[in-house]
Subunit: 251 residues, 2 copies
DNA sequence: CAATCCGTCATGGGT
DNA sequence: ACCCATGGCGGATTG
């Protein structure tokens, strides 16, 4: 599992270590110790000398973690170039990419530990509870939104975006449905409003707009009603409350 | 720097290691090896047995990294409880929080390495190029948006959100300005539209709406014009293009 | 390439 | 708590 480990390496050794193990692109590298970090790209940042943990994964992605916080302090999701070199007696790591043009530079002042781990066993990962799944379930059971509803299309692309569900109600009127897996906000109302306006313009007559979500914020509901749109409470989860009043999607 | 290190620890040792070093909340812990991960909360996920790197920071945040990708496969930003125990002869880590109620469970099948690092030196971190900085600069130099503009308020909270800049133009007409540090999208137009409508309702007469950003998408521009709103190209960056036509904010 | 939207978004700031 | 908005958002998808 441990391919290589260095304790308090000197700049030259660390540089060699980094260049060697990043080249193979088959292991996870980490360096812990005192460093400075600079970033320049869509924004710019500077981190004064402090204790950080640097991670470089197989795919060349780089992240620099501060001692707290879930998100890395600096990162580079996709590196086009990843090189280490000695400058002014220090090991410096450059991680750059084009489009957008961005550069992260790590200056190692006092590396305590450098590790290369054989970490490559990919395993299956499944996530449930996404909006996609909610869409699948409602496309199969549109009566959960409203009795008599017929789904015509899913992910229908119009120039203002993608309509989650495009349907027709019992009276033959067209309906745009916007889904949210969580509490719906004013943004969702804006989205729905855009889609309804677009559908309206296509000349099929009056189009209804329904926002289907487990809940909605008070301002969003007010805005929704002011625009003549509708809200349907749809439990997005198997263990949704009150199965009688709010039947589960996944039966 | 290295507080403790175990190689291929047995379940009991790993459990003790985890409980000991998470309790002190003053070091960064990592475990690399074969594991299974389950999550249940706002969504649910399962990762089959594979090679992962588990990080636990001082603040109790947990992240489980797969061999590739910038984002962790599973995570828990804030843990209310973080405990390890032996179950069925395996070390199992539970990380839970309330509000939202979420649980991440890691089952260690074959831990190769457990490390506790003294990593606590926080250092100053500064980011430039944020929308906040853009707002500061434009509040000082509103003439970059339009000659004769006077800023009345910043971050003015209305029930539909926060207006970036509230101003009055040379003719005394009220102006709502929405800023974007990057390319403005239809969402930004929706935001601006909401704010203008809210300001309008307050009864100060006709209110102008200006979207100030370095660029705008074509559909957003179309929508903007259809709503009678305006766009101003504002370079958000010191090294913005063509200083003559597009003066820098940071002079 | 551009544009859109989802996300266990995270994170911060306001009421 | 709720609600809103930003982010170097990342990531996927589609045209």
């Amino acid at each position: 599992m441990i391919r290589a480990q260095l304790l308090t390496p000197d700049p030259a050794s660390l540089t060699t270590f980094l260049n060697t193990h990043t080249r193979t692109r088959d292991c996870l590298i980490q360096i812990a110790g005192l460093a400075e970090v600079n970033y320049h790209g869509r924004a710019a940042s500077t981190a004064e000398v402090g204790a950080y943990l640097v991670l470089i994964k197989r795919d060349g992605s780089l992240q620099i973690h501060a001692p707290t916080g879930i998100k890395p302090m600096n990162w580079q999701p996709r590196t086009d170039e990843l090189t280490a070199r000695v400058e002014h007696g220090r090991c410096i790591l450059h991680a750059s990419r084009r489009s957008p043009e961005e550069l992260v530079r790590v200056t190692f002042l006092h590396p305590h530990l450098a590790l290369a781990l054989n970490l490559y066993e990919e395993a299956s990962f499944t996530l449930s509870g996404s909006e996609k799944q909610m869409q699948d379930a409602l496309a199969r059971h549109p009566e959960l939104i409203e009795p008599g509803l017929t789904v015509l299309d899913r992910e229908l692309l119009v120039d203002s975006g993608g309509i989650d569900l495009y349907a027709r109600d019992a009276q033959g009127q067209y309906v745009v449905v916007e889904l949210k897996r969580g509490r719906a906000t004013q943004d969702a109302v804006s989205q729905l409003g855009r889609y309804v306006a677009t559908a309206q313009k296509s000349g099929v007559g009056a189009v209804r707009g329904i926002l289907a979500a487990p809940s909605i914020t008070a301002p969003a509901l007010k805005e929704l009603r002011a625009r003549g749109l509708e809200f349907r409470e749809i439990g997005a989860w198997p263990d949704a409350p009150a199965p009688a009043a709010l039947p589960s999607l996944f039966d």
